[in-house]
């Protein structure tokens, strides 16, 4: 089982859903270790919990099949290949950083990465923001997050704000995630989503 996870980990290019479909092919279709309903449940768990959906689903399947050992071999098998690859490539990156040609290459890579992150927001938004409530929460978090990042410039006169700025910046993402979860709870009870900018900096 560890070996099949290793193989999937080493070949799972192309994002979370590519990994999920590789897992499905291996454990549902080829080995028939789990039914497709069980597999769908694993994917649903992965969607609710933090962490990459494919890893969560794999750990869930591994745990259902073989307990702790199965869960460990699922996580270990999926993560080991990319871990080793990054471990090898990272020193090469820092070594090549001295070459001017590599700097030219990176100057094209950097805008592409920005585009990848922006496209991820677009894709998640298109799938998830079908209602006004979701849109408002997303817009609120977008603005609040940008404000938190520039918190030093907001009110230059406030000494305490300058002192608190590093902490606000470091914790704003977690605070905003929790806040948007709470807003999600509130939205269902009230027709209009309340926007409370103060909550973001708590």
């Amino acid at each position: 089982m560890f070996l099949s996870y290793l193989r999937i980990g080493a070949t799972g290019f192309g994002g979370p859903m590519a990994l999920v479909s590789l897992l499905q092919r291996e454990f549902v279709e080829r080995r028939k270790a789990v039914t497709s309903e069980e597999f769908a449940e694993g994917v649903a768990v992965g969607g609710i919990l933090p962490g990459p959906i494919a890893i969560d689903a794999a750990v869930y399947i591994g745990y259902r099949l073989r307990g702790w050992l199965g869960a460990l071999s699922a996580a270990g098998g999926l993560i080991l290949p990319p871990f080793l690859i990054v471990l090898v490539v990272t020193p090469i990156y820092f070594w090549m950083g001295r070459l001017p040609e590599f700097e030219g290459f990176l100057s094209g890579v950097r805008p592409a990465v920005v585009a990848v992150i922006a496209a991820a927001a677009w894709r998640l938004g298109k799938k998830g923001l079908t209602q006004l409530s979701g849109l408002s929460i997303a817009a609120f978090v977008l603005v609040a997050s940008l404000l938190c990042a520039r918190v030093n410039d907001l009110v230059p006169g406030w000494e305490w704000l300058q002192h608190a700025a590093p902490t606000i910046k470091a914790l704003s993402s977690v605070a905003l995630i929790l806040a948007s979860g709470l807003l999600g709870l509130l939205v269902r009870q009230q027709p209009k989503p309340p926007a409370e900018p103060k909550e973001a900096k708590a």
């Binding site: 080493a10 990319p82 471990l87 094209g108 805008p111 990465v113 920005v114 496209a119 997050s145 999600g184």
Partner: protein, 185 residues
């Protein structure tokens, strides 16, 4: 050794809150790595995300890169391997335990309307968070008009077609390399 502890705690926190998949790592990790501790420049952080994209498996292995850099600065190659391992384990550990804990309560968890509402809210919030991260990355790492145009072109390709991110990243790098040889960059 304190940087190892800071790294571990940072990765544990990111691992606990990285809802909505890999890209959520960027808004969660960037403030710590670039702003608070200054482990990486914003350019290096951008490159770390690129590496996470072009390697197989989840984007969270970006933490391996970050761990390697922090460890190398603290104590050379062996420390680099140690730190990279710690960072990787710590970033995956929270969701590992949560998945196992949740697998006993699956029915209750999925059927609970409050959990669903909370999850819906978080999903929406994460979209805003990732968009904000993209804005900040753009401000920090895009320094010229050609780069801006390249970014928009890449975004168009990614949104309109099903070309994989890794290919777009590689193609943009190759294009820029060519352009810098010709001298139009």
């Amino acid at each position: 050794m304190s940087s190892l502890l800071e790294l571990a705690l940072s990765c544990l926190r990111v691992g606990t809150f990285v809802f909505g998949g890999g890209p959520a790592l960027v808004p969660l990790m960037r403030p710590d790595v670039v702003v608070r501790y200054g482990w990486l420049t914003s350019y290096q952080f951008n490159d770390a995300v690129a590496l996470g994209q072009v390697t197989p498996g989840p984007l969270l292995v970006t933490a391996t890169f970050i761990g390697w850099k922090v460890g190398f600065d603290a104590g050379g190659p062996w420390a680099a391997v140690l730190y990279a391992t710690v960072a990787t384990v710590c970033i995956f550990l929270p969701s590992f335990f949560m998945t196992i804990a949740a697998s006993h309560q699956l029915g209750r968890l999925r059927g609970n309307p409050r959990v669903q509402q909370f999850t819906k809210g978080v999903e929406a919030g994460v979209v805003g968070l990732i968009a904000a991260a993209a804005v900040q990355m753009a401000r920090d790492t895009i320094g010229s008009w050609p780069q801006g145009i390249l970014c928009l072109a890449a975004l168009t390709v990614l949104v309109r077609t099903k070309v994989e991110a890794a290919w777009v990243i590689g193609a943009c790098g190759g294009l820029a390399l060519l352009a810098s040889f010709v001298g139009v960059w």
